[in-house]
Each structure stands twice: as structure tokens, then as C-alpha cells.
């Protein structure tokens, strides 16, 4: 219990430090969207900066920003048109979240399966095939793979490919969240669910390749290591079935590194799905940060976006740490 509480409390200073660094870095960047917006009107720009409080001391601005984010999820207003960027950011975060969650579910399921199988039959054709597949998954660039998936789906399989998240003909204006899959499932709106599911398949396959490969390799090596240990031999000796030995004994012990890598992958995908999102036209957070935050230098989008990604990353790690405790009681009781 104390472990969990301590671990949760620790995230707060961590988030503050992250926000400080992001804020300071973006502050040090020369030029922003306002330079273009007020290209020929230095006076108007000065008035605008004054009104937006951009001339205040750094600490005051940072404090105000953190206060806004923490209390009302106010991520400041865009430098392009003075509209709040918070709603956009959170909407894109949900789009990316859905994609990541789905991709990682696939990756974990098949990664574990492939990893366990290849550890059970090391140096067999099956093992080699899994190894080659994993190598392919890690090394193939997603922009190429994405394009190939589309070509194969459309030209060979006759799949009705539609980028974006859901068929725009369907009415989704009454949806409360931006999680189309989950919300349509809850609402029982099968048309929207079908469309959202179909549209998420290809991007999620593309996005899943790298974590799938990583998880496969990690599972394989962790399982191989555990299989040689004494307790496994003991379990086999006392007559436990292979299934039980593998799933109950070995896998449980191999799970810590697998869980770690899965958590890291989740965080990485939340911010790093830019390429997949671009190829498949997925309106996600990574693409938003790159296009609006970096491309158009809309600083609040950049800061808010990075902050959100960092938060998700930290929270994922928190969740993983807490799960360690569930899987391995030694972690819970440990000194730390």
C-alpha cells in the first residue's frame, strides 16, 4: 500500500519538472505563430502580447499555465486565432489513445503468442520464422508498410478503404467523447462501430508492427531464460502439464521485463505515432503537434501536446510499476 501511495505521489513533482522543462524550452525557441500573424503590425503585436500576458516574467507565466491546466484543463489559447487549444488537444489525444490501445492489444496478444511458441521450440523452423518476422517488424519503415497495406487491402483484397476514423456520412455529432469505438459499443450503435472498426484496422496493423516485434523478442528471451531454471524443472518433475508450467510458472516470472517493455511502447506510441497517423490520415495527437505546433509554430499546441504525451508516459509507467506489485509480491514488500 505504502508503495503505491509513494509511487503515485512521486508523479506530481515529476510532472511539474516536465512542464517546467517543456515550457522553458519552448520559451527559448525563436519565433512563433504570432510573428506571421502580425507580420506588418509591430504595434498590434505588442498590444496582443501585453493582453495575453506574454511579457510577464517567466515564473508568473509558468505558474498561470500550470494553474490553468491543473484546475480547468485550460491549455492556453492558440497564437493563431486566440481560440483555446485544450479541446482540440484532448480530442486528438483520444483519437491517438484509441489507436494505440487497439494496436498494443494486438501487439501484446500476438507478441506473447509468438514469443512463447518460439521459446518452446528454440532453433526450429518456427523459431527462425518468428525471428525473421520480428526483425522485419522492427526494421520496416512504417510509411512504406502503411502504403503497402493500403495497396494490398484495396487492390488485392477489394477492401473499401477509408482514411479518418469513421465514415463521415454517419451521424456522430451527438457523441460525447472522441473514442468512437468504445462509445459506439456502449451506445450499441453498430453502424458507427462497424465503420470505426474497419477504419482503425489498417493503421493499427501498421502501428502494431514495431511493438509486436519488440514484445515477441522480449518474451522469447525472457521465457528461454526462465525455462532453464530449477523451479521449472521441479514443476515438470512433480508432473505439472506443459501448459501449466509455461503459463503459470515460467510466464509469470518472465512477465516483469515484458510488462516494462509494453509500458514503454505504449508511452512511445502515444507521441510517436506521427508517421502512422500521417500515412493513414489519422487525426491524432502526434500529427497535431508536428503540423500545428512545429509546422505553424503555435506554441501552446506544442507545449500542451508535449505535456500531454509526457503525462501519459508517466502515468503508464506508474501503472506498470503498480502492476509489478500485483505480479511479483516481492516488489511490493521491497525496501525501495
Amino acid at each position: 500500500m505504502t508503495f503505491a501511495v509513494r509511487r503515485i505521489l512521486l508523479t506530481i513533482p515529476l510532472l511539474l519538472v516536465v512542464s517546467l522543462v517543456v515550457f522553458a524550452l519552448s520559451d527559448a525557441l525563436p519565433g512563433d505563430a504570432a510573428d506571421l500573424r502580425f507580420e506588418k503590425q509591430p504595434q498590434a503585436k505588442e498590444e496582443w502580447r501585453e493582453k495575453r500576458g506574454l511579457n510577464d516574467p517567466f515564473v508568473a507565466r509558468w505558474g498561470r499555465y500550470i494553474g490553468g491546466v491543473a484546475t480547468t484543463l485550460d491549455f492556453d489559447d492558440s497564437y493563431l486565432d486566440d481560440r483555446p487549444v485544450g479541446p482540440d488537444l484532448l480530442e486528438k489525444l483520444q483519437a491517438t489513445f484509441e489507436l494505440t490501445l487497439f494496436a498494443l492489444t494486438i501487439a501484446t496478444f500476438f507478441g506473447l503468442l509468438a514469443g512463447i511458441l518460439s521459446a518452446l521450440y528454440p532453433r526450429t523452423p518456427l523459431d527462425y520464422a518468428v525471428n525473421v518476422g520480428a526483425l522485419f517488424g522492427i526494421s520496416v519503415p512504417v510509411f512504406w508498410l502503411g502504403m503497402m497495406l493500403i495497396v494490398i487491402a484495396v487492390n488485392l483484397l477489394g477492401f473499401r478503404y477509408s482514411s479518418n476514423r469513421v465514415d463521415p456520412v454517419l451521424d456522430t455529432s451527438h457523441f460525447v467523447t472522441n473514442l468512437y469505438l468504445l462509445e459506439s459499443l456502449v451506445r450499441g450503435d453498430w453502424n458507427v462501430f462497424g465503420s470505426a472498426f474497419r477504419n482503425i484496422l489498417l493503421p493499427c496493423l501498421a502501428l502494431a508492427t514495431i511493438p509486436l516485434a519488440v514484445i515477441t523478442r522480449m518474451t522469447r528471451s525472457a521465457m528461454l531464460e526462465e525455462r532453464g531454471k530449477d523451479y521449472v524443472r521441479t514443476a515438470q518433475a512433480k508432473g505439472a502439464t506443459t501448459r501449466r508450467v509455461v503459463l503459470r510458472h515460467a510466464l509469470r516470472n518472465a512477465f516483469i521485463p515484458i510488462l516494462t517493455i509494453t509500458g514503454v511502447q505504449f508511452g512511445a506510441l502515444m507521441g510517436g505515432a506521427v508517421l502512422t497517423e500521417s500515412v493513414f490520415n489519422w487525426p491524432g495527437l502526434g500529427r497535431f503537434i508536428v503540423d500545428r505546433g512545429v509546422g505553424e509554430r503555435d506554441t501552446p499546441v506544442l507545449v500542451g501536446g508535449i505535456l500531454l504525451v509526457a503525462t501519459v508516459f508517466i502515468l503508464t509507467n506508474l501503472a506498470v510499476d503498480l502492476l509489478y506489485g500485483v505480479i511479483d509480491p516481492r516488489v511490493r514488500r521491497g525496501r525501495a
Binding site: D82, S162, S163, N164, P168, S173, G194, R198, L201, N281
Partner: protein, 515 residues
């Protein structure tokens, strides 16, 4: 096993799909709109949506730049063309049922003209209005259906500018009750605004009461799909029914295809090489002519435009009225060397050529264009250093005159040669920052010509003046016109009634989708 059953079920759901009985036309475009307030946008992605939500007083004839009556039934003007009286069509309403009357027209202009107008918003910029309507003195409602414009001087392109998106008639009621017009626009056009999900889609619905008749489809949806290849795949698989800007490689492949319709029309655009006349060595006319003698435009088109394009000779494109057909210089590097020597550079001269990191319709592959120009110029005695600049910085730098030479282009906003010959080359537009005259060409003789052409009311006389101006440009060579690129669109089988409008914007009111 259970999970496989679940997967199979999901798949069945996914492949089922839904058939709606409403006819739908989905248009794939390269980027999302920025705003949906016609007076406050400068980008083509917003404009092509707005041309379907709003009407203008006059508009372009189908697929041309000729002006025809639209919300205004008829008009008259005095001889000097400074007082214009427009008679509005009767019984026209906005999407919310309020009438399109003279007051609405006055409102649409006054909110842009008058800084103290109650409908002003803090982020209003009105860039196009400010660039085009400085001569507009007064606009008044004579009666319910009559509007009078008074200009401070003759402004020949006036009628053409009234077809431009920034003059669209907006519903005054859309600015009441705190409605955010830029995200919830109300117009009188063939389609009514329904929903905008940023970066995903903009949904419009047929406006039953449009004066020109109900449009051909029930739902019109704009869907931003950035990559042209992905856009095309989606069209081929039936996800969308039409798209713009296919990649030129795909255009080659689609020619003669029976699965989709490939449309093209001569574009009103020009890509050109601007030579900074304020900086050595291009301050010398002979050197500028030498550059023009170097360039093999046909070869450039083969190498950098996949063969699609027409060599441009004049800065006023062939597709624009007022264009003067001239015989171009045949590429001749020897002649170029000779001129360079005469201009004081017998050993050749080193120059820096700027090119942007961006794709434009007139510049599909900026790197390839730059390399082609480099090779061509080096044959004629120039030593060319290439400099690649990111787009925003590029516009800023070249607009300040930081370059010696740069590759740039222009697409028409209005159907008048003034939009090219005055905007791109008159000395009034050679003032940094943000100069459109990137040659910084300040010829007084030229200035006299184009300013005169702006104030002469009769077209035949204006045409003569523009011809003379183009001859002067051909001699002075402040910039080398390179190529005019056709516009391409791809439509699904069964789509009819679509036309490319050369002055920009998309007009989908006549489009029908036959299954």
C-alpha cells in the same frame, strides 16, 4: 477460441457497412480549411468549401472566367465606371430563412471596410478586401433590392473582384447571439453548413430553397487527406468520389483508365524565375536576358513536371484574357555567354538561386525544378549555388529582397490580367516587407502602363496597354516565365456535372452521383 469467434463477429460487423438512401459526394482535399468566414481566409482549402456555402453578387460562368449575374440580376454603371448600381434577385433567403437584401450586402462589405463595425472580431484580418478594395468609397442600400457602390477612382477589374470569395454575402443574423461565424457560417449558397470536425471532415447539406435550384446531391462532405497517393487509393476503393491534386506520376498512370475519370483543364497559373533587379548581377538587363536564353523550358517540363505543363512566355498566362502570344527565345547557351560578356562578365558570374521546400500546383517538385535551372544556367556561363529554404521563411526572405534569384509562382484569384501584371511586377508592389514583386522591378515606363490599364474603363484599350506591357517585360526580363501547369481532378465513375473553375474554388451544385 472464444476470442477468434469475437474477431469473426467484429469482422462481420465491419464488412456489413450501412447503405443510406441519401446521395453523398465526398471530396478529398489536401488539407483542412482554416476558417469558414469568407472574408477572413486566404487559403484555397478554405475557399473551396466556402464557394459552396455562399453566393456572391456575380459569379464565374461554368468553367470560365467570364462574369455572369448571380445574386445580382443586373447592374449598371456610369461611363467612368465609378458608380455601380446592382439590382438584387428577389425572394432569395439565407439558410436560416432571413432575406438576402440590400442591407445584407451592405453589411457584408461594411464589416470589412469599417473598423468600428459592430460585427468586427479581434482576429479579423480581411487581407483580400484590404488588397483589392481601397478604391471603394461608399456602399449604400438604395432600396430593399438595390445596392450602390461608389468608387473613388476608376478601377477596371472591379466587377471581376465581386466574384471573389471575400465578397460573399454573409447573413447578418450569423453574427448575433454570440454565434462564432468562422466555425458556424450562414450563407445563401447551394449547401448549408452542418458540422465541422477538425482534420476529419466538413459536412454540408443540400439547401432546398436555393434560387438556382436544389443541388444534385443531398450531402456534400469535404475530407482532408494529406498524401495524394492515399487520397487516390481511397477514391479507387470507393471511400471518396472526387479529389484534387493527384500526384503527376499517378496522373500518368490514370490516363486512359476506365475505373476512374481523370479531368484536366488549362490552369491559370505561372511558375517563374524572379531575378532581383536591385542586386548585381541581375541589375543588368543583358545578364537577365542571358538567363532567359539559357533555359530550355520543354526539357524542364519533361524533367520536373512529368511532361505536364506548357512553356510560359509571358507573365500573363495564356489562359488569362489579355495574354499576348509571343515567340519565345530558343535555348541558346552560346548567345547567353555572349550577352554575359557584353554585360561585363566575360568569365561568367556566380549567383545564388533560392528555392522553397513545398509543393505547389505550379511547382510539384521544387528540387527537380531547381536542379534543372541550375544545369541550364551553368551551360550559359552562370555558376549557380542552390539554396533551399523552408516555405514561410522563403516568402519572408524573397519578399524582403534577400535573394538574387528565386523560383516562385502565382495562381489567379480574379479573372483579370491586373492580378498578374500589376500585382507581380509593378513598382508599387516592390516595397518590402512582403513584396509580391519579387524581381523588385521598378521600371517607370512599366508602372505608367499598368497603372493606366487599371483606370481605363474600356477593355479593348486596356488589352492594347497590357500587350505593350508584356512586350516590355519580354525585353527587360525582370523574371523568366517558366511554365503553366494544368489543373487535375480525379472523379469516381458515375459522377457527373463537375467542372473545373479556373479562377479557383470548387462549385459542386451541379454534381450528381449515379450508382
Amino acid at each position: 477460441m472464444r476470442s477468434f469467434c469475437l474477431l469473426a463477429l467484429l469482422f462481420a460487423v465491419a464488412c456489413g457497412g450501412s447503405e443510406s438512401d441519401r446521395s453523398v459526394f465526398i471530396w478529398g482535399k489536401s488539407g483542412d480549411a482554416v476558417k469558414l468566414d469568407p472574408a477572413n481566409v486566404t487559403d484555397g482549402e478554405s475557399v473551396m468549401v466556402l464557394t459552396n456555402i455562399f453566393d456572391t453578387l456575380v459569379t464565374f460562368e461554368e468553367g470560365s472566367i467570364e462574369i455572369i449575374p448571380w445574386l445580382a440580376e443586373s447592374w449598371e454603371h456610369n461611363e467612368a465606371r465609378t458608380v455601380w448600381t446592382f439590382k438584387l434577385r428577389q425572394g432569395v433567403t439565407f439558410h436560416d430563412g432571413t432575406p438576402v437584401n440590400a442591407d445584407a450586402v451592405v453589411f457584408s462589405f461594411m464589416r470589412q471596410k469599417d473598423p468600428a463595425h459592430p460585427a468586427r472580431r479581434p482576429d479579423d484580418a480581411f487581407a483580400y478586401y484590404n488588397d483589392n478594395f481601397d478604391a471603394l468609397d461608399k456602399i449604400e442600400a438604395v432600396d430593399e433590392h438595390t445596392v450602390r457602390f461608389t468608387l473613388s477612382r476608376t478601377f477596371a477589374p472591379f466587377l471581376s473582384t465581386l466574384a471573389m470569395f471575400c465578397t460573399a454575402i454573409v447573413a447578418p443574423s450569423g453574427f448575433e447571439d454570440g454565434n462564432d461565424f468562422a466555425t458556424n457560417p450562414i450563407g445563401s449558397g447551394p449547401f448549408r453548413f452542418l458540422e465541422w470536425k477538425k482534420d476529419e471532415f466538413i459536412k454540408l447539406e443540400a439547401f432546398e430553397d436555393h434560387f438556382a435550384g436544389r443541388p444534385g446531391v443531398d450531402l456534400l462532405i469535404f475530407k482532408p487527406i494529406k498524401q495524394p497517393e492515399v487520397r487516390l487509393k481511397e477514391l479507387e476503393s470507393g471511400g471518396i468520389q472526387g479529389m484534387d491534386n493527384p500526384s503527376l506520376v499517378d496522373v500518368k498512370r490514370l490516363e486512359g483508365s476506365t475505373d476512374v475519370q481523370l479531368l484536366s483543364a488549362p490552369g491559370i497559373n505561372v511558375c517563374y524565375l524572379a531575378l532581383n533587379t536591385q542586386k548585381a548581377p541581375f541589375d543588368n538587363k543583358l545578364v537577365r536576358q542571358a538567363a532567359a536564353w539559357c533555359i530550355d523550358k520543354k526539357r524542364l517540363i519533361e524533367a520536373a513536371y512529368a511532361g505536364y505543363g506548357e512553356p510560359a512566355v509571358s507573365m500573363c498566362p495564356k489562359t488569362m484574357k489579355g495574354h499576348l502570344a509571343m515567340k519565345d527565345r530558343e535555348p541558346d547557351p552560346e548567345k547567353a555567354r555572349q550577352l554575359l560578356a557584353e554585360g561585363g562578365y566575360p568569365q561568367g558570374v556566380e549567383i545564388e538561386l533560392w528555392y522553397p521546400v513545398i509543393q505547389r500546383a505550379y511547382l510539384p517538385d521544387s528540387g527537380a525544378t531547381a536542379i534543372q535551372l541550375q544545369q541550364a544556367l551553368e551551360k550559359g556561363g552562370f555558376k549557380v549555388k542552390l539554396r533551399k529554404v523552408e516555405w514561410t521563411a522563403y516568402l519572408e526572405g524573397t519578399g524582403n529582397g534577400a535573394h538574387q534569384a528565386c523560383i516562385i509562382g502565382w495562381m489567379a484569384d480574379i479573372g483579370d490580367p491586373d492580378n498578374y501584371l500589376y500585382v507581380l511586377l509593378d513598382k508599387e508592389n516592390a516595397v518590402p516587407p512582403g513584396a509580391n514583386n519579387r524581381s523588385f522591378y521598378t521600371s517607370e515606363a512599366y508602372h505608367q502602363l499598368v497603372s493606366k490599364a487599371r483606370s481605363v474603363p474600356v477593355w479593348e484599350e486596356r488589352e492594347k496597354i497590357y500587350h505593350e506591357a508584356q512586350r516590355l517585360l519580354f525585353e527587360d526580363m525582370p523574371c523568366v516565365p517558366l511554365v503553366t501547369v494544368p489543373d487535375f481532378r480525379v472523379l469516381a465513375k458515375g459522377v457527373t456535372g463537375y467542372t473545373i473553375y479556373p479562377a479557383g474554388g470548387e462549385y459542386f451544385r451541379a454534381v450528381q452521383v449515379n450508382k
